[in-house]
């Protein structure tokens, strides 16, 4: 901020003013939509027929739902599926706070229950299941062999926070196997955990087996014997306040039907 910039101030001020006008226009068109991660439905496009279907989905569904959305759009050319991924609990909270969402897919039943309790979701349907797997960076530099290694304070360990589904499942699994873990970080969603592993910043972590598959060569999965008995059930529901109830219902049917089953199975999800 030197004195030399004086001459540019009016232009900068004009730019700021123009920006403010844009922002205000944006506020006006998106109405009461709170500050959520969802893309606001564009109502000013040249294609007046297009419907935007906003789907909130658990972070662990990222790859599968990207694929499903693409296929759904191919079948319904007038529909544009907008996806927002995140921790299921955070997404549920946003739905309750009034985020304009048409379909919600959660990684566990409690977040969906939050939405149901708020009177915002009709009948959730369980459409997939998932189990946990131990994951290590490619090459397994720390020589991790099993769940017991998570108790090693010398290793860098990442887990999901117990307040999100993958964390709740991790707690359950560790308790079941009698392991007292020594985590170095408790992340807010499973993809954040996976990133720390694929960057090599942690030696081991617990994520869903679907995440291990999705991450490809960057990580290695180690199956945990007791994991099969800690199963996450994924419910999906069209939301009561969906802008286009029919399209929302169609999407749920699509995900729970044969096409959805095939994509989910390929991603590593188990049957409901």
């Amino acid at each position: 901020m030197t004195g030399r910039r004086i001459g540019r101030m009016p232009r900068a001020a004009a730019a700021v003013g123009a920006l403010a006008a844009l922002v205000l226009a944006g506020c006006a068109s998106s109405g009461a939509n709170g500050g959520t991660a969802s893309p606001a439905p564009s109502d000013a496009t040249d294609d007046a027929e297009a419907t935007t279907l906003t789907v909130f989905a658990a972070a662990s569904l990222t790859e599968a739902f990207d694929e499903l959305a693409e296929r759904f759009e191919a079948e319904h050319p007038s529909v544009d599926v907008a996806l927002s991924y995140g921790g299921s609990a955070a997404l549920a909270q946003q739905v309750v706070e009034g985020a304009p969402v048409d379909v919600f897919a959660s990684a566990a039943e409690p977040p969906m229950q939050t939405v149901v309790d708020a009177g915002l979701a009709g009948d959730p349907v369980v459409f997939a299941t998932n189990t946990l797997e131990l994951v290590v960076p490619a090459g397994n530099p720390a020589g991790v062999t099993g769940l017991d290694d998570l108790a090693d304070a010398d290793l860098r360990i990442a887990l999901c926070d117990a307040s999100v589904p993958c964390g709740a499942a991790s707690v359950k699994l560790l308790e079941q196997e009698g392991v007292v873990a020594a985590p170095d970080t408790l992340e807010s969603d499973v993809k954040a955990v996976l990133t720390k592993v694929s960057l090599g910043e942690v030696d081991a972590a617990l994520v869903y087996r679907t995440d291990v598959i999705a991450a490809g060569d960057e990580v290695e999965g180690i199956e945990v014997p007791g994991a099969a008995s800690v199963v996450n059930r994924y419910p999906i529901a069209a939301l009561a306040e969906a802008g286009d109830a029919d399209t929302a219902a169609d999407f749920v049917v699509f995900v729970t039907g044969d096409a959805g089953r095939a994509v989910l199975a390929e991603a590593g999800f188990g049957k409901p």
Binding site: M1, T2, G3, R5, I6, M9, P10, A13, A20, L24, G87, A89, A90, Q93, R156, A158, D161, S163, V164, P183, D184, T185, L186, E187, S188, K196, L199, G200, E201, V202
Partner: protein, 294 residues
């Protein structure tokens, strides 16, 4: 927060008023009253800034507040946040005051290095903190150029430690201190320094006994801004330092996580952060307003 001191100043006189003596040369041309479109826009702007915070206050679970704030998870985050923000502020003082001195001196430099230096100091101010966190992880993470060496030589890893929280906080708050002190340095009367130098004081003596006391209010203001910014740091911390109760889970991260399972606790934590920031800024207003035009 308090934009009143800016009202009487046109855009042209605002920056010009920095010469010796401080006051604007032209004096306020438009005193007091604003044209109505300006007043309306300013009112909307103020509402944009204040209403969300007001909503937070309204929604706060006031009756449960003592219980919520006394929870161990909250106290742990509180202690961690205040400790790390204090250490970060101390680091910023040690590093930021010299940087501000360099920046003030750079006014005489050729255009390019001067702008490059200023940009380097400003970037963390405008950068999304998450980007800062990623950058820190790339440098100091286990596979980063420095992180790798630290692990090889000393067997230490930086991420996921309380130290990483402090580093993240320093990264985002250092510019606040630097610019506050630089502003103070530039508006300080150089003649005092010259006099001291003429009387035989060394450069270090001049800096220590003349310059520093002159800019002390600016330094204090910068330190407080720096502290509140560090206290609020979230993106860089969660990306670089992680989130473990008692070690790296600061108030903003605790608030974010609580929002997923216990919104009341999240709101209580948010309220606490808001209260601290407002109290600090209100207490500071008189001293920092003339100095800092950030």
């Amino acid at each position: 927060m308090s934009d009143r001191p800016g009202i009487g100043r046109g855009p042209r006189t605002g920056r010009a008023g920095r010469g010796p003596g401080g006051a604007g040369r032209r004096g306020p041309r438009v005193a007091g009253r604003l044209a109505w479109p300006v007043a309306v826009a300013a009112g909307i702007a103020l509402a944009v800034l204040v209403l969300p915070l007001a909503a937070l206050v309204v929604r706060a679970p006031w009756s449960d507040l003592p219980e919520l704030l006394a929870r161990e998870s909250v106290l742990q985050a509180l202690v961690l946040s205040f400790t790390t923000a204090s250490v970060a502020t101390a680091c910023c003082l040690v590093l930021g005051v010299p940087l501000a001195a360099l920046l003030a001196r750079a006014a005489d430099w050729p255009t390019f290095p001067r702008r490059a230096l200023r940009a380097a100091v400003t970037v963390p101010l405008v950068l999304p903190p998450v980007v800062g966190g990623i950058a820190l992880l790339m440098l100091l993470g286990r596979r980063g150029p420095i992180g790798q060496l630290l692990e090889e030589w000393f067997g230490m890893t930086v991420p996921f430690t309380t130290g990483a929280v402090v580093i993240a906080q320093v990264f985002v708050s250092l510019p606040f201190l630097t610019f506050a002190v630089e502003g103070a340095l530039r508006s300080a009367d150089r003649r005092t320094e010259l006099a001291a130098a003429t009387l035989g004081a060394s450069r270090w003596q001049v800096f220590r006994h003349v310059t520093l006391p002159l800019v002390a209010p600016g330094v204090a203001a910068g330190a407080v801004l720096c502290f509140t910014r560090a206290l609020g740091e979230f993106g860089a911390t969660i990306t670089f330092a992680g989130s473990l109760p008692g070690v790296t889970r600061t108030l903003p991260i605790a608030s974010y996580l609580a929002m997923q399972s216990d919104p009341d606790e999240a709101i209580a934590l948010a309220l606490l952060l808001l209260a601290v920031s407002v109290i600090v800024l209100l207490g500071l207003r008189d001293r920092w307003m003339p100095e800092v035009r950030a």
